[in-house]
């Protein structure tokens, strides 16, 4: 079968299609893995998406009779270099300190084990900014990942390595995580499907109960909606001792996704929450285009959003929790490495965030969590059926305030290392609020700018209704398909 890098037809297939090839005997797992390795070797020099490679182990796993007979048997996969550890394998979380120490993970996460049981073959780890703290993927330790649509631009972050790899056709989907938008942002910037799952949908055990004060969830970026649904069937489900468990779907997601939802009531919002910063016209256009598509599908769209989304305190709450999380991560990595990490061990912006978080008293932190939980009720009321709530099913916004920006935009200067971080807020005004509320939200690649850059739209459902997002996503995918779009850099 042809695996020439310049014209590898496998690069265009989603994971479901690749798994079907294995199931039907048209391709062996090893053939799929070898083709993916060839693709990575051919184009990753331009992208810098795959920073830790395990090609020989992957080939051995693909050739082994022990390869699990799961739904994605033999499909190539990549794992973000942040969280989701596999015992015995290197991982850096985007840090120079862990890279220099040659850190080897000591436990296997439930999620990594589920990926293995599904038959996926992991080819390595994808680039992440240090500790996943920023919406771009330019760690000092590994260098920047380039956007396949234009290598001068950011792929977004923090799951930018995974997004670049999937967009460029290296693998059909890849693990990703989202604490403030880190699945949705790179999905938007790279033209992919990025579902941030409901809080408690996917276990973060066994050693952890929550990540980033429950802000962060694990999942993936994919090209097709059906891949997202089928992979969620693999990833979701309670593990022993999970502190929070999202309600189970009524049927497998891959089945729910094929059923068109009843007419939905959708609120459209194209200004920034709190109207604090401008929204680029292309991003406004993207959301309006999605609104038109949804109306064409029989849904009702009106200009509306939850009042609480404009509450300025949401940014303060997020900043408190985010800073504390940075401090905890730096401390935790210090404990794992057996020494206290100092300013010299981390990037300047990381140190500033962690330093701010380190001084936060527990009571201040708990107060922020408590405010967040009360505010989340005001948000949730908008999705509650009338008369108790406002009776909306979905909120539709642009995913980002701008088309993908140039690499370096979020990098501080020697004089002002925090300047880049401050630039991140206006870039991502929509996404962090739903990490605070725990609601599911998805970025969908329904629009391209005049310059040909992907512009995602952001759809948010009530807590637990990941299935509704996938069903609507499948509808949009059908009427405005994106599978045939190719970025400039593609295997």
């Amino acid at each position: 079968m042809p695996t020439h890098p310049a014209s590898d037809p496998l690069a265009a297939l989603d994971a479901t299609a690749q798994a079907d090839l294995v199931r039907s005997g048209a391709a062996s797992p090893l053939e799929l893995i070898d083709a993916a390795i060839t693709r990575i070797e051919a184009v990753d020099g331009e992208l810098n998406a795959v920073v830790l490679r395990r090609f020989e182990q992957a080939r051995a796993e693909a050739a082994s009779d022990d390869l699990p007979a799961g739904p994605f048997r033999g499909v190539p996969f990549l794992t973000k270099d942040l969280a989701c550890p596999t015992a015995g394998e290197p991982q850096t979380d985007g840090m120079g300190a862990t890279k220099a120490a040659g850190w080897i993970a000591t436990e296997t996460s439930h999620l990594a084990a589920r990926f293995v049981r599904a038959g996926l073959v992991n080819l390595g780890r994808t680039n992440s900014p240090e500790l996943g703290l920023v919406p771009t993927t330019e760690p000092v330790a590994w260098g920047p990942t380039h956007n396949p649509w234009d290598p001068a631009l950011t792929p977004g972050g923090s799951s930018g390595g995974s997004a670049a790899a999937v967009a460029a056709g290296l693998v059909p989907f890849a693990h990703a995580s989202d604490g403030g938008g880190s699945i949705r942002i790179p999905a938007s910037a790279c033209g992919l499907v990025g579902l941030k799952t409901s809080r408690g949908r996917i276990s973060v055990g066994p050693s952890r109960g929550e990540l980033s004060s429950f802000l962060s969830v694990q999942f993936a970026v994919t090209r097709s909606v059906r891949d997202a649904a089928a992979l969620l069937d693999v990833a979701a489900g309670r593990e022993p001792g999970d502190p929070v468990v999202a309600p189970a779907p009524s049927a497998p997601y891959r089945d729910l996704t094929t059923h068109a939802p009843d007419a939905l009531r959708v609120g459209l919002m194209t200004r920034a929450p709190g109207d604090t910063s401008p929204i680029h016209p292309e991003c406004v256009t993207a959301a309006e285009r999605a609104a038109t598509l949804l109306e064409g599908l029989g849904h009702h769209v009106e200009v509306a959003h939850p009042d609480a989304y404009d509450d300025p305190d949401r940014a303060a709450m997020f900043a408190t929790l985010w800073g504390v999380d940075a401090a905890v991560k730096v401390t935790t990595w210090g404990n794992l490495l057996g020494r206290s990490l100092t300013e010299a061990d981390v990037e300047a912006a990381t140190w500033i965030m962690a330093s701010a978080g380190r001084d936060v008293l527990a009571t201040t932190y708990v107060d922020a969590v408590s405010r967040m939980q009360v505010w989340a009720r005001a948000m949730a009321d908008w999705w509650e059926p009338a008369p108790r709530g406002d009776g909306f099913d979905l909120l539709l916004t642009p995913t980002l305030a701008e088309p993908p920006v140039r690499l370096g935009t979020f990098t501080g200067t020697a004089d002002d290392p925090f300047a880049g971080i401050l630039r991140a807020g206006p870039f991502t005004p929509y996404t962090p609020s739903f990490n605070l509320t725990g609601q599911p939200a998805i970025s969908l690649p329904v629009h391209q700018s005049a310059a040909g850059l992907p512009i995602g739209v952001h759809v948010v459902a009530a807590y637990g209704h990941d299935d509704l997002l996938l069903a609507v996503a499948a509808q949009l995918e059908q009427v405005a398909p994106w599978a045939d779009r190719r970025p400039r850099i593609h295997a």
Binding site: S213, D242, P243, R358
Partner: protein, 491 residues
């Protein structure tokens, strides 16, 4: 109308109303008479709501389809607020200010919607911090079985009201054992539901980082099950919630639990306490009873229970909460507050809490989450979820000691932590399951031979398995009924 309403559970009282045997006003008047008869001796009801209750009962329809139409209830003066009623949390400054709550907590609104009529609010230790009910603000609540003894806490006021026959049901909350401890000490049934079963809104998303659950203390198992049906279910914006039961909890009462594998343990976790012979005897007696009902009982418990005494974790959680409680009292008072406004233990926690950092707080939570998984993996998981535990239930004494004397658990100004150290002994068996979030109950099967003081036994199930606990509780209640046991102080 029967002569002795005091011996009827809420279900029976509701049946009287339904069949025309009594009016809501007759039930409420009778409860008020009972409170007036014995409350001086017990000090259980600290805020009578008699006129309001009579007005509600007078305005009530003769019958309704609510499950507890016209049935009197008492509300704990903590763990939830009722609109227009005093809310003092056992604090002397709030008492002095005559603080009144302006809204109903969801669970109070749900109790009203179920037909209950609150006739009074019951005593609590300051902010629910102790395992006895002896606040300086309102004085000790006394045990109806022997007024020299504590009722346990923190829901001791509600427990004394139910045990003395004032009302059939008392609202309660449990952050370290505060439903189960007073249930054990007063000879009642007390079920702490699974984390997320009963919403803590709208005023909060969670309390004590998820340790606190709310429900009621009852005499009968069926009352507890039926009230849980009325209270459970997510409310808009809950940060997480327990997956809903497959069928009403009331349907579990009388349902066959099958043959269960039960582990028994009669030495306190992590050697936190020396278990009194009577408490060991109570658990062993329950084991024999369970075996006679066809269950398999063996000496076994989650090994992780011996890993940590959890004292530092609870102190950390409580002191962090106390800082916020003290600041809230200051806001209500509109002035600086000081040590004279609080009990010595509370103020000590406040001082300690002010130096506790968010990193310490989150490290403690992470450790608790990891520990939870090790405990949970001992239990047979719910169908369709992961894990390989083999045991359906854990059986222990509820307490390490029989009900202590009044004053035994109280600290002094010189040594405010003395009381806390003693109080810890009384939470040795209960507190672990606040950390894990599992459902646990105290069942009144045993009374001390020499002093006729009640000694409860605790049964613990996997997360969300209240159904299993209620089936077994009903089986035990049928095999060895306690409904006719009457405390010496009884209305």
């Amino acid at each position: 109308m029967p002569d002795d309403l005091s011996m009827l559970d809420a279900t029976a009282q509701a049946d009287l109303v339904r069949t025309g045997g009594a009016t809501p006003l007759e039930l409420v008047d009778a409860a008020i008479n009972r409170i007036e008869k014995v409350n001086d001796e017990l000090n259980a009801v600290i805020h009578p709501l008699f006129e309001k209750a009579r007005a509600t009962a007078t305005g009530a329809t003769a019958t309704s389809d609510t499950p507890f139409h016209g049935v009197p209830i008492v509300l704990k003066d903590h763990d939830g607020s009722s609109a227009g009623d005093p809310l003092h949390h056992g604090n002397k400054l709030l008492k002095e200010l005559g603080h009144v709550a302006d809204e109903d907590s969801y669970l109070i609104a749900k109790l009203r919607a179920a037909g209950f009529i609150p006739v009074g609010k019951t005593n609590t230790p300051e902010f629910g911090l102790m395992t006895t009910t002896e606040p300086e603000a309102y004085g000790p609540t006394r045990n109806p079985w022997n007024t020299n003894h504590s009722t346990g806490g923190s829901s001791g006021g509600s427990a004394a009201a139910v045990a003395s026959g004032m009302v059939p049901v008392g609202h309660a909350g449990d952050g370290g054992g505060s439903i189960r401890i007073p249930a054990s000490e007063c000879g009642l049934f007390g079920l702490k539901p699974s984390r997320g079963r009963v919403s803590l809104g709208p005023e909060a998303g969670e309390a004590w980082v998820g340790l606190v659950q709310r429900h009621v203390i009852t005499r009968s198992v069926r009352d507890s099950a039926a009230v849980l049906d009325a209270l459970c279910g997510p409310m808009s914006g809950d940060p997480y919630f327990a997956p809903p039961p497959a069928r009403p909890f009331l349907d579990e009462v009388g349902a066959d639990p099958g043959r269960l594998r039960i582990g028994i343990r009669t030495n306190a976790p992590a050697a936190m306490a020396v278990t009194d012979d009577e408490c060991v005897a109570a658990a062993e007696d329950a084991a024999r009873l369970l075996e006679s009902l066809g269950h398999h009982v063996e000496i076994a418990s989650p090994p992780a229970l011996d890993e940590t005494d959890l004292v530092d974790f609870f102190v950390a959680v409580m002191m962090t909460d106390v800082v916020r409680e003290v600041e809230e009292v200051g806001r209500i008072a509109g002035r600086e507050v000081g040590p004279d406004d609080f009990e010595a233990l509370t103020w000590t926690y406040y001082e300690m809490g002010k130096t506790y950092t968010s990193i310490q707080h989150l490290e403690a939570i992470d450790a608790a989450h990891a520990w939870t998984r090790r405990v949970a993996s001992w239990f047979t998981p719910a169908a369709g979820t992961g894990g390989g535990g083999q045991f359906d239930l854990l059986l222990t004494p509820t307490l390490a000691e029989p009900p202590p004397e009044i004053g035994d658990l109280v600290g002094t100004t010189e040594d405010p932590l003395r009381g806390m150290a003693r109080a810890t002994v009384f939470a040795a068996y209960t507190a672990p399951f606040n950390v894990t979030g599992q459902p646990a109950m105290s069942v009144p099967l045993y009374w001390e031979a020499s002093r006729d003081l009640p000694i409860g036994v605790q049964l613990v199930a996997d997360h969300t398995r209240e159904d299993l606990l209620l089936r077994v509780a009903a089986q035990l209640e049928a095999a060895r009924p306690w409904a006719d046991r009457r405390a010496p102080v009884h209305a």
